[in-house]
């Protein structure tokens, strides 16, 4: 078997907000390495720097120092326009609050990233077909013309996942994807993410919920801007009891 492709490679990521005495170090020397096809969780209490790390990994902001190679490309020196292009082509986001356009059909919401694709990977006349196919793959083939307010939270998050998938990105970043959902819908969303993982997607989930983290292969714990521990589920035999439950398939995701 070939050595797997590296999707995320960071070395000494540091992010400092503000200047001089008022400066706050949000992230300090974070180096991580995530290969293609991995499902990784980033955990940590508020203020641990997990949002900052997620924003940098998602190319929404750039580190103060350190390097970040996304899919082998150094995104350090890119300007706003180039970063936008990277986000469009290589990254799919899933947000806690879905962030769907109101009064816009599931189909149109799913299509959104294609509008901003300057490389025209998918020609305009194929957009709808592509969006339909993607929505069907997340189990919403019968909700194409529904608007967000006509869909349940779980269904809205599925639309958001379809939107993240439509450009066929190398990395999916999910920020508390079950945070706004009841336990049943949350579990469905986690199952969907797991099935995407099984199909070879690289997924990073940012969460503070340990139960969500249990689904992943590796959990990166952040504390005060540094990596505290890295737990490899399935290789780590000191797993908590819930691990057995995951394997048994009876675990439920805690709702909020």
């Amino acid at each position: 078997m070939n050595k797997p492709r590296t999707i995320i490679e960071t070395r000494g990521l540091t992010k400092i907000y503000g200047m001089g005495d008022a400066s706050v170090v949000a992230l300090e020397g974070v180096s991580i390495h995530i290969e293609a096809g991995k499902l990784v969780a980033i955990m940590g209490p508020s203020g641990s720097g997990k949002s900052t790390l997620m924003n940098i990994l998602g190319c929404l902001s750039t580190p103060t120092s350190g390097t970040y190679l996304l899919d082998g490309e150094d995104v350090g020196g890119l300007d706003k326009v180039q970063l936008a292009a990277i986000r469009n082509a290589k990254i799919g986001y899933v947000f806690q609050s879905y962030n769907l356009l109101p009064r816009t059909t599931a189909l149109r919401n799913t299509m959104l990233p294609l509008i901003y694709d300057r490389t025209h990977k998918v020609p305009r006349e194929k957009w709808e077909e592509k969006a339909r196919g993607t929505l069907e793959s997340v189990g919403l083939g019968d909700r194409l013309e529904h608007q967000p307010q006509e869909l349940s939270g779980g269904q809205q998050q599925r639309v958001a996942i379809a939107r993240a998938l439509i450009t066929d990105p190398v990395l999916i970043i999910a920020d508390e994807p079950t945070g706004n959902l009841d336990s049943k819908s949350g579990e469905e969303i986690m199952r969907l993410l797991l099935s995407l993982h099984k199909r070879g997607r690289t997924i990073v989930i940012v969460t503070h919920d340990p139960i969500v983290a249990q689904y992943t292969e590796r959990v990166i714990h952040l504390k005060d801007g540094r990596i505290d521990t890295v737990v490899h589920n399935g290789h780590n035999h000191s797993l908590p009891v819930e691990k057995e439950a995951v394997l048994g398939g009876t675990l439920s995701v805690r709702g909020q």
């Binding site: 929404l60 986001y93 962030n99 901003y116």
Partner: protein, 409 residues
């Protein structure tokens, strides 16, 4: 980003807030309509004035006394324009068709039990009929002989005759004008109102009669047989400037003055129209600017709503940025929304303006002339206003940081 896609997004955004969009557009609608209506009204006024000047008759030369302008102590050594000047012009210059001298007054006209006050009495010469393009319906107009002999005769406008005599024949009747009895010798055919003058409500009598009976005695003594204005109608308009030259020479000679000390001024209908046009053009420009101000106010309305919209849709902007929208894409989206608002408002305003100008013309006594270039001007101004006032909010949107925008509540 595909321009079609930009337009589609803007159109949908406008459609999602129909009432708000309409209210926002209202400023532009009113502005564009106001520009079109204002220009239509002032152009109508302009056309009315032009008609009025033309209705004096065609191919006219006006010889005006400049006594009043310079005053008695002025450099003029001449005695001013007198009635015999008119006769001299008529007799000595070949290209002259008719010469008219006018002196107006007002008086109360009585016949039997009917008494009409403030009736305009116009004294003139027999050529008046030709120069003013009037016709006699019954009886006859006064003659040169009657003018010379100061015969107390009157010719009535059609509506005046009807008010005094109803269906009876006025010819030969004696009416009391002021304190003077005049014999009605003719009634004019209906001419209607041209400009401000109702030709049908006037009483026409020889100039000499007006000078003798209807001019205040002090004034008359001071003035002698001086006239304010001589209207000269010429036969061949191509020789207009030659004729003016001849009249000028004749009068200089008669008044024994030089060009520098001349006590009269010769103008043509064209001169007056040109002067009037420059006055009305200034008036029109003023109106257009006032209307333009309402367009600017409309533009500020658009800017206001666009700023609100950018704030409201901050998360949407963040989302669009996270899926790959560049600052330029975001700027275009909001700019095109502002442009679309102003252009759609402009189109509605154009329809409202043309309709309004037409309706205004129909319902009021003022004439309106819809000027096609004003429609274009108003529309282009609306688009320019949209672009100008849309740019700032669009730029605000473009400069949002995606992380902050996504976190916005």
């Amino acid at each position: 980003m595909n321009p079609k896609e930009v337009l589609r997004i803007s159109w949908e955004a406008i459609g999602k807030n129909k009432v708000r969009s309409l209210l926002t557009m209202l400023g532009i609608i009113i502005g564009v309509a106001a520009v079109i209506i204002m220009i239509a009204v002032s152009s109508g006024t302009e056309a009315t004035i032009k008609d009025q000047i033309t209705s004096l008759g065609s191919n006219l030369i006006f010889v005006a006394d400049s006594f009043s302008r310079n005053g008695p102590q002025a450099t003029s050594s001449g005695s001013g324009l007198v009635y015999s000047d008119a006769t001299a012009i008529s007799e000595n210059i070949a290209n002259v068709k008719g010469v008219v001298v006018e002196q107006g007054s007002t008086a109360t006209v009585k016949f039997g039990k009917i008494s009409l006050s403030d009736i305009s009495v116009l004294g003139s010469t027999p050529d008046f009929l030709v120069v003013r393009d009037l016709t006699v319906a019954s009886g006859s107009f006064y003659t040169e002989e009657q003018n010379t002999k100061k015969t107390k005769v009157a010719v009535l406008g059609s509506s005046l005759a009807e008010q005094l005599f109803g269906t009876d024949d006025p010819i030969g009747q004696s009416i009391l004008v002021g304190s003077t009895r005049l014999t009605v010798i003719g009634v004019l055919a209906k001419k209607g109102t041209v400009g401000e003058v109702d030709y049908d409500a006037r009483l026409y009598t020889p100039l000499s009669v007006v000078l003798k009976y209807f001019t205040p005695s002090m004034f008359s003594r001071f003035m002698g047989d001086r006239v304010r204005m001589i209207y000269v109608q010429i036969i061949n308009p191509a020789e207009m400037s030659d004729t003016i030259q001849q009249i000028n020479l004749l009068l200089l000679q008669r008044h024994k003055v030089t060009a520098d000390t001349a006590d009269f001024k010769i103008t043509t209908q064209e001169d007056i129209i040109t002067t009037q046009e420059s006055t009305t053009a200034a008036f029109r420009n003023l109106l257009a600017w006032v209307a333009g101000v309402s367009l600017v106010v409309g533009g500020i309305g658009i800017m206001n709503i666009m700023l609100v919209s950018v704030t409201e849709r901050t998360r949407e902007i963040g989302l669009r940025q996270s899926v790959g929208a560049t600052p330029g894409d975001v700027r275009w989206q909001f700019l095109s929304e502002a442009l679309l608002l102003s252009v759609v408002g402009g189109v509605i305003g154009m329809v409202a303006g043309v309709g309004g100008a037409w309706l205004f013309g129909v319902l009021s006594s003022m004439r309106t002339v819809i000027v096609p270039s004003s429609i274009l001007l108003a529309f282009c101004s609306a688009a320019a206003v949209g672009a100008f006032f849309g740019y700032y909010p669009a730029n605000q949107a473009a400069q949002l940081d995606p992380i902050d925008a996504l976190r916005h509540e």
